[in-house]
C-alpha cells in the first residue's frame, strides 16, 4: 500500500508534467515545471521521514534516536534553490520571447524548424 505522501508527490509530479506537455502558454508550462519540482521535493522529504520522530535539531529532549534523516532535507534545500534559479532564467527568456514575438503561445513561436 502506498502512503499518502508518496501519492501526493507523484500526483504533483504528474500534474506538473501534464501542464508542461499540454499547455500552450509559456508561462503555464513554466508553472508546470515548478509544480513538478515541488512534487520531487515532497518526495525527497517523505523518503527521509521516519515514523514518530521529529526534526533533526538536537536540543533538549531530542537525541540522535528521536530525529529524522537530515540528508534529504539538506538535499531539498539545494533543490529548491536550483529550482528558483531555473525559474528566474526561464522567466527572463520568456520576457525576451514576448518582446520579439509579441505572444507567449508556443504554437506561434516557431522559427527554428527541421
Amino acid at each position: 500500500m502506498i502512503s499518502v505522501y508518496y501519492f501526493g508527490a507523484i500526483s504533483l509530479i504528474l500534474i506538473g508534467l501534464y501542464a508542461v506537455l499540454v499547455k500552450k502558454n509559456v508561462l503555464k508550462m513554466l508553472i508546470g515545471l515548478s509544480i513538478m519540482e515541488t512534487g520531487v521535493n515532497l518526495l525527497l522529504v517523505s523518503i527521509g521521514y521516519i515514523s514518530g520522530r521529529s526534526a533533526p535539531i538536537l536540543s533538549e529532549g531530542i537525541g540522535p534516536n528521536q530525529a529524522v534523516d537530515p540528508i534529504p532535507q539538506a538535499l531539498v534545500l539545494t533543490a529548491i534553490v536550483i529550482g528558483v534559479a531555473t525559474t528566474a532564467m526561464a522567466l527572463s527568456v520568456a520576457i525576451i520571447l514576448y518582446g520579439k514575438y509579441g505572444t507567449l503561445n508556443v504554437e506561434e513561436i516557431r522559427r527554428l524548424r527541421g
Binding site: L17, I47, T86, M89, V93, L97, R110, L112
Partner: protein, 495 residues
C-alpha cells in the same frame, strides 16, 4: 605537492568568476584577455593533475572539508577525469582566445562569468564522486548553458533556450527522483558506496531509479528522444559556445551516464537498462544523420552530425563490455578534437562572411584557403576516412558492437555513416569546386588554433597508439568498478 590541491580545479574558475564584477572597469578587451589568462591557468592546473595521475597510476581523491567519503563529498580524479578535465580546459582556452576576437554582443562581463561557470560545471560533473553533487554540477552546467544559448538575444536564441530549459527541467526532475529512490533504498549518496551496496538493492527500485537517471541525463547527453533542443541551441548559441557544447558539455553528460550505469552493475535488472540505452543511442544516430542530410545551414548540419556521433559514443558505452567502453572513450577524445575544429572553423567563417548558410561556404577554398583546408580535414575525419583519427575509434566501436551481439545496431550505424559521407562530401564540394571569391585575410591566432587541431587529427590518425593507450586506461577506470571502490577510502559508518 599535495593531491588536495586538485580542488583548485573547482576553486579557480569559481573565484575568478566571482572576481569579474569587481574588474568591470577594465573594459571589454581587458575582460576578454582576463578570460584567456584564467583558462590558461586552468589548463596548467589540469595538466599538472593529468601528469600526477598518469605518472603514479593512482587517482587523486579530493575530500572536501576533510571528511572521509561516505560522510563528506569527494572528487574522484582518476584516469578518465584527469584526461577529460584537461580536454575541457584546453578547449576552453581555445574558445576564450576565439572569443577575444569574435564576441561582440554586450554585456561581455556577464559572458565571461557564464563562460567560466560552464567550464566549472563540466569539470565538476566529470570529477565528482557523489551522486547528488553530480546533480548540482549538472545544474550549474545546464543553467549557464541556458543563459549562454539565449545570449545573442534574438528570437531564435530565446526559443532554443526555452526548449532546452523545458526539456532540461523535466530531465533534472527525473534525475532527482532517481537519486531519491537510490538514496531511499541504500541510505548513501557516495558513488563508491552505492556501487558496493548495489547488489542488495531491490531490483525493481534499482531498475526504476537507474532508468530515471538515464532519462534525466539523456537531456545533457543529447540522446533521442530528449535531444530536440540540441540542434536549435547549437545553431542559435554564440559560435564560441557551440564549440564548448559539442566538445565537452555533452561529453560530461555521457560520462555521467556511463559512470552511473557501470556503478550499478551488480543490480539484477542491469541488462534491461543497457538494452534501453542501446536502443536510444541507435535511434539517435539514425534520426540525426537523416536530419543532417536536409539541412541548408552548415552549423546546423554539423550540429546534427555531432549528435549522431554522440549517439555512437553512447552506443559504445552501453555495450557493457570493456572493449566497448574503451572504444567509446577513444571516440569521445577524437570527437572533441574534430568537432572543436569544425565548429571553430564554421564560427570563424560565420562571423567573417556574416552567416553560416551553405551559400557562404561556396568558393571558400579561394577566399579563405587555410580555414577551408582545416574544415576539409575535419569533414574527412568526421566521415571516417582511414588515416584520420575518427576512423580508428569508429572501427573499434563497430567491432565491439558485433562482439557484444548487437549486429543490428552496427548495421544501422554503418548505413547512417553512408548518409554522413554524402552530406560532408557535398560540403567539401561547395567549398572547393563551387563559387568564386576574392582572397581574404585570415587572423593569425585562429588560423594557428585551426591548424593545430587539424594537425592533431592527422597525427592521431597516423599514430593512434598513444591516445588509444590513454583511452584504454580511462575506459578501464569507468568499466572496472571493483578498482573504483577500492580506490575510494571509504569509512565505516553505522552498524
Amino acid at each position: 605537492m599535495n593531491g588536495q590541491y586538485a580542488s583548485l580545479l573547482i576553486a579557480l574558475p569559481l573565484l575568478s568568476a566571482f572576481f569579474v564584477p569587481l574588474i568591470k572597469g577594465l573594459g571589454e578587451r581587458g575582460i576578454k584577455y582576463y578570460l584567456a589568462v584564467i583558462t590558461a591557468l586552468q589548463t596548467g592546473i589540469a595538466a599538472w593533475v593529468f601528469q600526477q595521475v598518469y605518472s603514479t597510476g593512482k587517482p587523486i581523491i579530493v575530500m572536501a572539508g576533510g571528511w572521509k567519503p561516505p560522510v563528506g563529498i569527494n572528487l574522484y580524479i582518476g584516469h578518465f577525469a584527469a584526461l577529460f578535465v584537461l580536454i575541457v580546459a584546453v578547449v576552453s582556452f581555445f574558445t576564450a582566445v576565439f572569443s577575444i576576437w569574435s564576441m561582440k554582443v554586450q554585456p561581455i562581463d556577464k559572458y565571461a562569468m557564464l563562460f567560466l561557470l560552464l567550464m566549472l560545471g563540466a569539470t565538476g560533473m566529470i570529477a565528482t564522486g557523489d551522486i547528488f553533487n553530480l546533480f548540482v554540477f549538472m545544474e550549474i552546467t545546464a543553467i549557464s548553458a541556458y543563459a549562454l544559448t539565449a545570449y545573442n538575444k534574438t528570437g531564435e536564441a530565446a526559443e532554443a533556450s526555452l526548449k532546452y530549459m523545458i526539456l532540461g527541467g523535466i530531465g533534472s526532475s527525473f534525475f532527482l527522483i532517481g537519486v531519491a529512490l537510490i538514496y531511499g533504498s541504500l541510505g548513501t549518496l557516495n558513488m563508491a558506496q552505492i556501487a558496493q551496496l548495489a547488489g542488495n538493492m531491490n531490483p525493481t527500485v534499482a531498475q526504476v531509479g537507474l532508468a530515471l537517471i538515464v532519462f534525466g541525463l539523456a537531456v545533457e547527453a543529447e540522446l533521442f528522444p530528449l535531444n530536440a533542443w540540441a540542434p536549435d541551441a547549437y545553431q542559435a548559441a554564440p559560435h564560441a559556445i557551440t564549440v564548448m557544447f559539442s566538445a565537452f558539455v555533452v561529453k560530461a553528460g555521457l560520462y555521467a551516464t556511463a559512470r552511473l550505469l557501470y556503478l550499478m552493475q551488480a543490480v539484477g535488472s542491469w541488462h534491461d537498462v543497457l538494452k534501453l540505452l542501446v536502443a536510444m543511442a541507435t535511434l539517435t544516430v539514425v534520426v540525426a544523420e537523416f536530419a543532417a542530410l536536409r539541412q541548408k545551414d552548415v552549423k546546423r548540419m554539423i550540429a546534427y552530425s555531432s549528435i549522431s556521433q554522440v549517439g555512437m559514443i553512447a552506443f559504445a558505452l552501453a555495450l557493457g563490455s570493456q572493449a566497448g567502453v574503451d572504444a567509446g572513450v577513444f571516440h569521445m577524445v577524437n570527437h572533441a578534437v574534430v568537432k572543436a575544429l569544425l565548429f571553430l572553423g564554421v564560427g570563424y567563417v560565420g562571423i567573417k562572411l556574416g552567416g553560416t548558410a551553405m551559400e557562404n561556404f561556396q568558393g571558400l577554398g579561394k577566399r579563405m584557403p587555410l580555414t577551408a583546408f582545416a574544415l576539409t580535414i575535419g569533414s574527412l575525419a568526421a566521415v571516417g576516412i582511414p588515416l584520420f583519427n575518427i576512423f580508428w575509434s569508429k572501427v573499434r566501436i563497430l567491432i565491439a558492437g558485433v562482439e557484444a551481439g548487437y549486429t543490428w545496431g552496427v548495421a544501422l550505424i554503418l548505413g547512417a555513416s553512408v548518409v554522413e559521407a554524402v552530406y560532408y562530401l557535398r560540403f567539401i564540394h561547395a567549398m572547393w569546386f563551387a563559387g568564386e571569391g576574392e582572397r581574404m585575410r585570415e587572423g593569425l591566432a585562429i588560423s594557428l588554433i585551426l591548424l593545430l587541431l587539424a594537425a592533431l587529427v592527422i597525427v592521431i590518425g597516423i599514430y593512434p597508439d598513444y591516445i588509444w593507450s590513454l583511452a584504454q586506461k580511462a575506459g578501464s577506470d569507468i568499466f572496472n568498478v571493483g578498482q573504483y571502490i577500492k580506490n575510494v577510502p571509504l569509512m565505516e559508518v553505522g552498524a
